[in-house]
Structures are given as C-alpha cells and as structure tokens.
Symmetry: C2
Subunit: 183 residues, 2 copies
Amino acid sequence: MSKQAHVPTLLKLFRQFGYEGLTLSKISQATGLGKASLYHHFPGGKAEMAEAALTQVNQWLETCILPILNRKVQPIDAFQAMCQETSHFFQEGQNSCLWAVLVLEQTSDDLFHSQISWAFATWIEAIAQVLVIAGLDETMAKQRGEDAMIAIQGALILSHGLKDFAPFQRVIKQLPQQLCQNI
Amino acid sequence: MSKQAHVPTLLKLFRQFGYEGLTLSKISQATGLGKASLYHHFPGGKAEMAEAALTQVNQWLETCILPILNRKVQPIDAFQAMCQETSHFFQEGQNSCLWAVLVLEQTSDDLFHSQISWAFATWIEAIAQVLVIAGLDETMAKQRGEDAMIAIQGALILSHGLKDFAPFQRVIKQLPQQLCQNI
DNA sequence: ACAATCATACCGAACGAACGGTACAGTATC
DNA sequence: GATACTGTACCGTTCGTTCGGTATGATTGT
C-alpha cells in the first residue's frame, strides 16, 4: 500500500495522543504495518511521520479553506462556508487540532514551529483580506482574523475539557456574524 | 525540604512538556531531588505529581480568581481584576495552561478529566453569576462565561503558535469590556 | 520466451537507551 | 533511638531505531 494512504491514520493518532504520547507500537497496531515497514515509508522515523500528518493539515488549509476565502462572494457567505468546512474537519468539535497539540509540547514545537506559525498566520491573513476588501480597516481586520482563530482553538479546548461539544458548535455558528459586525 | 515546596516546579514542568513528555529524570534534575526522594513525597509516582500540579492550579482558581468574582463590586472592576490576575498567572501569555495541556493528551485526560472539567465549569459559572447579578439573562451570562474561557485558552494557543504574545495581551485587555457589553 | 535484475512493500528479531518504579542501606534531625 | 529523608544500584518493560531478509511484480537483456 502507498505511503500516503497511512497519513490520515497518523493524523488521527498524533491528534489523539500528542507527539510524546504516541508510540511506534500504537502506530504499528493502528496501521497494520510492522515497525520496520513504517521506517521504510518514513525513514526519518517518528518525526517524519508527525511532519507528514502536519503537512496533511496544512494542505487541508490550502486546498479547502483558502480557496473559500479567495472567492469573490459576500463576506458572510465566505465565512459561513469556512465555518462549515472547519466544523466538518474537526468533526463538530470531537477532533482536536494537531497545531494546538504540537504547540503545547515544547519538545515537538521546536521541530514544527515554522509550519504551525505559517498555518496560523496564513489563515488569519486570509480572513483579514476578506474584511479589508469589504471595507474594514486593516488593523481591525487582522484583529478579527486573530479572534476567529482564538475562538476556534479555544472552543476546541473548552469542549474537550468539558466533554461537551455544544460550546464549539455554538462558536462556529456565531462566528460568521461576529466577523461581519458593522461592515 | 517540604513536599509543597516542589509543586511549583512540577507545575512548570508539566506545563512545558505535558504528561507523557515529562520524565522522572527531568523532574529529578529540575527539583534537585533523587528519584527515591520524589517517591517518598509522592508515593503514587508521576500520576500523583501531576495531580499535585493540577491541584495547585485549581487552588489558584479558588483562592485568587473566585474571590475576585464574588466581591460585590462593579462587574467591570471585577473582570478587570480577574484579567490582571490571569495575565500574571500566565506570565503575559508565556506560560501555557496545564488544563489545556492535559486535556489534549487522551492518555492523561482520563486521569484528570474530573478536576479539569470542574475548573472550567466553576470559572464559567462564577463569571456568569456576576453578569446575572448585573441583570443579564442567565443563558447569555453562561455564554459569556464560556466565551471568556474560550478567549483565554484560544489566545494562549495562538500566541504560543506564533511565538508572539501580543494577541494574548490584547485579548486580556479587551475581555472586561467585552463581558460587560450592553449591561 | 525466459531468466536476470531491480524496485517496492513488508516483516521478525533484535539493539542500546531510557522509561517508571523499587529495595535498601545509609545519613541527618530531633 | 525513632523518624524523615536520600544516594545508589537495580528491576522489568518499553521506547525509537536498525538489520537482514522475504515476497511480489515490473523491467530489462538476450
């Protein structure tokens, strides 16, 4: 089987257990591949597997989110589509975010910081651009982009902490309106 | 040296490395205590050390945050004091939140979920109470309490992801006003 | 057409190192 | 002399990683 076929499994596992918490034994079991086979596909070992998972998420951002925000439609429609896609990606809040997971482990953050900060900054910038085109001041637009990321990440943390995914779903539902206030 | 004296060190370490990422060797090095001494103070091992750190955070919530919110002062003043204390606790955003760190590791979340969800729920409820007394509808008050937690947690994640703590500081600064909107 | 070659996918077994944890003989303090 | 504490050596286990190798199937040379 091809290397790419196993990346979604890796993503799921790293999200669930974190970098240090995920062991090659678990990966081996979940993929059905022996440890030696894993090293055939990912010679760089665990770090390369995590990077493959991270790259998958960043590609989701590039292919599923950024195009939505670059379409020349009403801001409210763009944000609604973005939120729908985001909610689906995180399975209505039940998935955690790989970015957040890796950011909170100092060990792994050193390895992946550039990719993670690129993702955050790019998403924020894309949201801000929509708002600037809609006539909002640049500083305010950037702030609202940040607020959107903060709302998504915070809602995921809170929902997982409470084991109640209603807060995430509410935040996602209210986010488009909130982003479009006074424009 | 007394057991309690080492808990702040434990807190710092678990915040930094997470549960799985933190090893007894690191703890031994950081505290200057041998493994035998650590097991003398914490017979339950690593799990008990993490619980001590978590308890320390929950006690901070009880002794430093809840009293602020229970004082009968203007809501805006209470929230401002809360935010100032929170910002100081997280060192203007440079510290990460132990709750978030443990929540994102499925392994450790099972052990600590009850304490973490208690903390989130209690803080939210305390904020909501202030707003209810100020005349806000109960549902809206609860939502704003959730939004405050979401803002704090999300801002911590984003700031760490960007290695730029301005977003956290801005969120903390704006939070009191935001909580008091239209009351 | 047939064999030799090569690339790919995979695996069992083992490696040294580090893990969390324990046993025990001390030392310090009162 | 009892109690609180610690240094050292050690336990079994699991970690990430590596090695030598097999099975399969396409590619090539003749």
